[in-house]
Amino acid sequence: MVEKCRVRGLTKRFGTTTVVDDVALDVSEGEFVVILGPSGCGKTTTLRMIAGLAEPDAGSIDIDGRRVCAPAERLFVPPEQRNIGMVFQSYAIWPHMTVFENVAYPLRVRRVGGGERKRRVADVLERVGLGQESDRPATALSGGQMQRVALARALVFNPAMVLFDEPLSNLDLKLRERLRVELKSLQRETGLTSIYVTHDQTEAVELADRIIVMKAGRVVQTGTPRELYRTPTSRFVAEFISTANIFDAVVEGFAGPGFVRVRCDDGRALIAAHTVPVRPGERVDVVVHPEDCRIEATQGEHAHQVRITGLRYQGTSTRITLRWMGTEIDVVSLGTLPAIEEGSEAWLHIRPEHARVIPRPVP
């Protein structure tokens, strides 16, 4: 795998606050990497440093094997020489140019001749579905169309990679979903290397080959969407990536290789899987995804008696709220349900491999 982008020790301070703190990341050719994190965690700043729009205080950035930024060596390649495309949150479509002129601009700057330029712009506009709009003034476009123009402009010069800063956040929900699908298939077809910044986990999970989760300027976990979902290494990631039930519990003892018995303060006890070493008596978090639980009318192994407090039908699935001892828990059930109704008693089945222990960070 060819490495397209390599970032090490990237650090940025504004005054005395460190906004990006020792960030490392790698992006391979054709990979779609999403940087995910809550508002203000430094995603945009990281992206802008890769683009060359902001200067880091420390660290290094290599693009296509060329070092473009290293404050320690006083090296800084300006953005126009990095050969990176970027789609801005506000799209940054130039209002004094037509759609064609906007998209042709990178080629004009690179002195690509008239005929070739026309062909390539037409080609890329066709690909983003704007073949007909070429001569319209850019101000006459809708939000979704502007977004496509911005994408076309970032693609037209075959950049080493494309950076996206929350490009869909200004659009309504429906359009956002459609463009997400289009973007993903375009990226697959063209083998585009991309870094995409968002605070929306659905977007991240759907688009990403790999997600980098950031918190307060630091990378807290990197992995495929599945890895982050299955084996979050912190409560923060578990909460951010999914709508999981998270129990605050104490390890009581071992229950076979890879499993421990845990108990919550209100008395709930269950068997959970762990991947990192834990000691009895240690406080941990236990993650249980709503769709990993089963509701049965009958008792069985690893079953707990609960009372159903709410039922919500959501198309093909049902979201069930239930009370297990003192705690409300969310469960999603696909397909047929046993005959339960609000207020009835039932049994909650949680298989040990579906309850995962996350150690607390050592204070």
Binding site: G52, P79, E80, Q81, G85, A92, H96, R153, F157
Partner: protein, 566 residues
């Protein structure tokens, strides 16, 4: 406000604005078509004639007069655009050293009255005895500068009017979504290319609009060409109007005709400017407040900062040093550098003389009275207009707004002339009192006053007011308890602006004063015409110091208020 009350309020305000603004201009226009001066608004209609226009237009030098007026304004506008735009770009978009200072410097001339600037540059660069020329001769350089020329006047225009361009451009650059420029960089364009392809076209509407504004102001201005133009034979329309009335035999009707022609020009230009302002849609506001990396000037950082300081020298340091120098000299006859700096020639006697001069004292108290009255009465009128225009749906509110902004296009001199025509012979006894000056000022500053107060009012969310009404408070209680307290910092800032404008105003009062109602600027101009240069220098320094004091107090008050408010 109930419907009837609201309508009565609109009608009363409309009547006030009509009398203050429309009446004088109307009378002026009628007067320009008559053969005799009007008496007590009794027009001698049988004398209806175009002969005044014929006399003006066929006058042997009308073409030259118009040409000079336009040329001087064009030179000044071009200079103001270059200086203002360059300073704005440096201050907002680059890493030039001391950006904050540069920004403060760029708007400093707004606080220097044009009349004071003109006096100072007369002292500095008059061809024979200007200090700069004396120094140049002493150094033995074979060149000299002549401020009495078209170029010289254009230069003074440019340096004192570029703040308008600066403010427009700085706002445009600041409001522009930085991502528009960054996107070009990501497309591979270098900094100069970004400036040419993206930044310049995007701020072009603001540039054009501010250029037109400055051009109008320079077509109207009286103070600078009156001081610097006459000695060198550079004649412009505003000064000619004054001469037609001031020199015997007075040709009041002809002056009016020339005034109407000037008015036509300025009105056309203002309409053009509003067209461009209306289409300023290019300047897009960023979605997020992320500020971009400033443009790196590299080795040019310090040279460009020096240019900024050179500008400071031209508008503040040199002029005020020259005025101070003159104010401290015992006599003004020196022709060599050595004689110029001889210490035995300095004393502070002039300051004492000026302070004890009854004319100066009267002028100062008149000016303070006129300014305070203008601020007091004007603010109430402007607030009422702004409130009705922005906070009610009453019929006629647009008309009120239109009349109130009309004086943008009316030169102060012309307002003054209209007032002279309207009131000189009416038996109400307004002419000859300071009040006619106050009313003329209130008309002249209506656009600035109304728009400053409007800007404050529109920032107060209507729901704040509506909830007060729903709580059972009437209109006046709501105004007193909610609107005015919330708008107070803005209103106070508008009042300071009005105070500064009226204290430095000159041309509007030119035809309206008598020996007992002379205001400070007029007294200064009078002394200058009679050659009392030292006294003028002291007065100019005093006026500038007072303006600075007003502004500083205003800043402190508004800042304290802003800090108090959550």
């Amino acid at each position: 406000m109930n419907r009837i009350g609201g309508r009565i309020a609109v009608a009363v305000l409309a009547a006030v604005l009509l009398v203050l603004i429309v009446l004088p201009v109307g009378v002026l226009i009628i007067g320009s078509l008559l053969s005799d001066p009007p008496r007590a608004l009794q027009f001698n209609w049988s004398g209806l004639t175009f002969s005044n226009y014929a006399a003006v237009l066929s006058g042997q030098d009308f073409a030259a007069l118009l040409g000079t007026t336009v040329a001087a304004a064009l030179i000044g506008t071009a200079g103001a655009l270059v200086i203002g735009a360059a300073l704005a770009w440096l201050a907002v978009r680059t890493d030039v050293p001391a950006r904050r200072l540069l920004e403060a410097v760029a708007i400093m001339p707004m606080f220097v009255p044009p009349l004071v600037g003109a006096f100072a540059w007369d002292v500095l660069a008059s061809p024979r005895s200007g200090i700069i020329n004396i120094v140049l001769r002493a150094v033995g350089v074979g060149v000299s500068v002549n401020i009495y020329s078209l170029g010289g006047i254009g230069f003074v225009f440019a340096i004192y009017y570029c703040p308008y361009v600066f403010l427009f451009m700085a706002a445009a650059l600041r409001n522009m979504d930085a991502a528009l420029e960054e996107a070009a960089a990501m497309c591979g364009a270098g900094p100069l290319r970004v400036l040419a392809n993206i930044t310049a076209p995007l701020v072009a509407p603001a540039l054009l609009s501010s250029g037109l504004l400055v051009f109008v102001l320079l077509m109207e201005i009286f103070a600078i060409p009156a001081v610097l133009g006459e000695p060198g034979g550079v004649h412009v329309m505003s000064v000619r109007i004054w001469e037609l009335i001031g020199f015997a035999p007075p040709k009041v009707n002809e002056a009016s005709a020339l005034g109407v022609l000037l008015l036509l020009l300025t009105v056309t230009l203002v309409i053009l400017q509003h067209r461009f302002l209306g289409r300023r849609s290019f300047v897009t506001v960023a979605g997020k407040g992320l500020r971009s990396q400033p443009v790196r000037l590299g080795v040019m950082r310090w040279p460009l900062a020096t240019l900024g300081m050179l500008y400071l020298a031209c508008v503040v340091v040199l002029p005020f040093s020259a005025l101070l120098f003159i104010a401290l000299r015992k006599n003004l006859f020196f022709s060599s550098l050595a004689a110029m700096v001889r210490t035995s020639q300095f004393s502070t006697r002039q300051f004492t003389v000026a302070m004890n001069d009854p004319v100066v004292r009267d002028a100062l108290s008149n000016s303070l009275l006129v300014s305070l009255a203008t601020v007091g009465l004007g603010s109430i009128l402007y607030f009422a207009v702004a409130y009705i225009v922005h906070r009610t749906r009453l019929p006629g509110r647009r008309l009120l707004n239109m009349i109130a902004i009309l004086p943008v296009a009316i030169p102060g001199l012309i307002i003054g002339l209209g007032y002279l025509w309207s009131w000189i012979s009416l038996p109400v006894g307004l002419y000859g009192t300071v009040w006619i000056i106050v009313f003329a000022y209130i008309s002249q500053f209506a656009p600035q006053g109304v728009s400053a107060i409007s800007a404050t009012l529109v920032q107060i969310h209507p729901e704040l007011e509506e909830s007060s009404r729903l709580s059972g408070a009437g209109l006046f209680t709501t105004l007193r308890r909610i609107v005015i307290p919330l708008a107070w910092p803005g209103i106070l800032a508008s009042m300071i602006l009005l105070l500064v404008l009226s204290f430095r105003e000159f041309a509007t009062a030119l035809f309206l004063y008598t020996s007992s109602t002379q205001v400070f600027s007029l007294a200064m101009f009078d002394f200058w015409e009679r050659g009392s240069t030292s006294l003028v220098a002291v007065m100019a320094l005093a006026q500038s110091a007072l303006l600075l004091l007003f502004i500083t107090i205003g800043r402190m008050l508004t800042r304290r208020l802003a800090a108090d408010q959550p």
